[in-house]
């Protein structure tokens, strides 16, 4: 039987990573880590994540906090001297983790993104109040109060819609998404 593909191979085949240069051209210069505004919160810097992938240390990567600390600001991507699309690599790792349900315990990101997709599939649009339950209660009582005050202030300023909007041709919209999946999904 053929050997199981390495973690590096798995990550590389997650589409847009291949759009730029593959991570094997990384020279470990650390420009990405130096450019990252969230690096101080990460357990491994972006440079270290690339090194870990290349060393095939899958669990260290997928259970790291780093992936969920990336805000997709692209500072690393535009500065990488080897033209590696590091932000896209982070996106690919997020997909890897959400698909396999493997991620650091307590991370809000995966549940938030799943809920976001569910809302968009249902209505064709995003809806902030619908996302709130995924993070509202995760920052302690103080955080919950803060979020409630914020919600009320936005409501007073007429900046929150009570009823989510839906695209008009929602059935066609859903049919499009279903068609992307090769076998199609019955409505």
């Amino acid at each position: 039987m053929a050997e199981k593909p390495s973690f590096q191979k798995e990550v590389s085949t997650l589409m847009s990573v291949m759009d730029g240069n593959p991570i094997d051209v990384c020279i470990q210069c650390g420009t990405c880590s130096g450019s990252c505004p969230a690096v101080e919160y990460m357990d491994y810097s972006p440079r270290q994540i690339i090194a870990l992938i290349r060393a095939d240390m899958r669990d260290k990567v997928v259970y790291s906090d780093t992936i969920w600390c990336c805000s997709s600001c692209y500072s690393c991507t535009v500065r990488c001297p080897k033209n590696i699309k590091i932000t896209e690599m982070m996106y690919a790792l997020k997909r890897y983790c959400t698909w396999k349900h493997k991620h650091k315990g307590g991370a809000i990101g995966p549940g938030f993104s799943r809920k976001f997709v569910k809302i968009v599939v249902k209505t064709g649009k995003s809806y902030e109040p619908g996302l709130a339950p995924t993070f509202m209660f995760k920052y302690g009582i103080r955080g919950m109060i803060d979020n409630m005050i914020m919600g009320m202030s936005l409501f007073q300023k007429k900046r929150i819609a009570i009823i989510p909007k839906t695209v008009k041709r929602i059935n066609n919209f859903r049919r499009i998404l279903n068609r992307i999946i090769p076998v199609g999904v019955e409505q």
Binding site: K125, S126, L154, R159
Partner: protein, 291 residues
């Protein structure tokens, strides 16, 4: 000029003032923005965390509908802009991906061929109207107002061909055309935290604090943004930042369309100035000679 206007989800709710002021100011400057019919979500960042092809398909539907109108599509939200721009580039160069997505788009009678351009709202102010004409049309020159231009990320990156990606100046130019003074500060293109404000609160709050501190230390009276998420992070979370960091920020943050609209003589109410938590209105009254 005529454009296909793609407001995006935030502009229907938290960023209503951006939508209203964008339409009003564009109209005042003689640009025609026709809302794209039946547009859908661009996927933001979260959809890309689950599936990339589906996320690209969301944008492809919007682009295909815009193509039908024969007009270039213009997005005021930097994230919508970046997603549509990247999708446009990707689908144009990847024949197989385009065919795959086009097969699905048939379900709504649509096809993507990549004819139209994707523009940010800022682009049409700069390209279509231009700074010179803007200066001529200003009736409330905002002399002495110190404005911090805040670029954020997605309007600049990862698009590599925008001039001066590390030190852009197009927002400074727009601000100056209103008569106001654009202040210089090092973090103008640093991230606001984006959706981390919901999923990794402490990181985003620190990023916001750093930005507010940098802008205030450099003498800003207010901040101008081009993105709804930047606006909400920088403005609505100031109270939380103040509590955590013991600071006293009360800095108004509003959209470039509100600043320009006001300078052009549009009444504050028509630009929804005052729908912020820290209203810039008191700072603007001394210039008011509304047309």
């Amino acid at each position: 000029m005529k454009y296909s206007y793609f407001p995006g989800c935030s502009l229907e709710t938290t960023a209503r003032s951006y939508d209203v002021s964008a339409r009003r100011t564009a109209e005042k400057l003689g640009m025609e923005m026709i809302e794209l019919e039946d547009w859908n979500c661009c996927g933001a960042t979260a959809y890309f965390h689950i599936d990339e092809i589906l996320a690209l398909t969301l944008c492809a539907r919007n682009l295909a509908m815009a193509e039908k109108t024969g007009l270039d599509v213009v997005a005021p939200c930097s994230a919508c802009y970046k997603n549509m721009l990247e999708t446009n580039i990707r689908l144009k160069k990847d024949d197989e991906l385009r065919e795959h997505i086009n097969l699905a788009l048939k379900e709504d009678g649509l096809q993507f061929s990549g004819q139209g351009r994707v523009l940010h709202l800022v682009d049409i102010f700069l390209e279509d109207v231009g700074l010179e004409k803007m200066r001529e049309l200003v009736v409330n020159p905002l002399k002495g107002l110190r404005v911090a231009p805040y670029y954020g990320c997605q309007i600049l990156r990862p698009k590599m061909d925008r001039e001066n990606i590390e030190n852009p100046d197009f927002l400074e130019n727009l601000i100056s055309s209103s008569g106001a003074e654009a202040i210089d500060y090092p973090l103008k293109a640093q991230c606001c935290g984006g959706s981390l404000i919901m999923t990794k609160n402490s990181i985003a709050l620190k990023m916001v604090r750093n930005l507010l501190k940098c802008a205030t230390d450099n003498g800003a009276d207010l901040i101008v943004t081009t993105c709804p998420l930047c606006q909400i992070n920088l403005e609505c979370y100031q109270k939380q930042v103040n509590r955590i960091y013991g600071t006293q920020f009360a800095l108004p943050v509003f959209y470039f369309t509100q600043l320009l609209g006001f300078a052009l003589g549009i009444p504050k109410g028509d630009l929804l100035i005052g729908s912020e938590m820290n209203s810039p209105a008191p700072l603007l009254t001394r210039f008011a000679k509304e047309a």
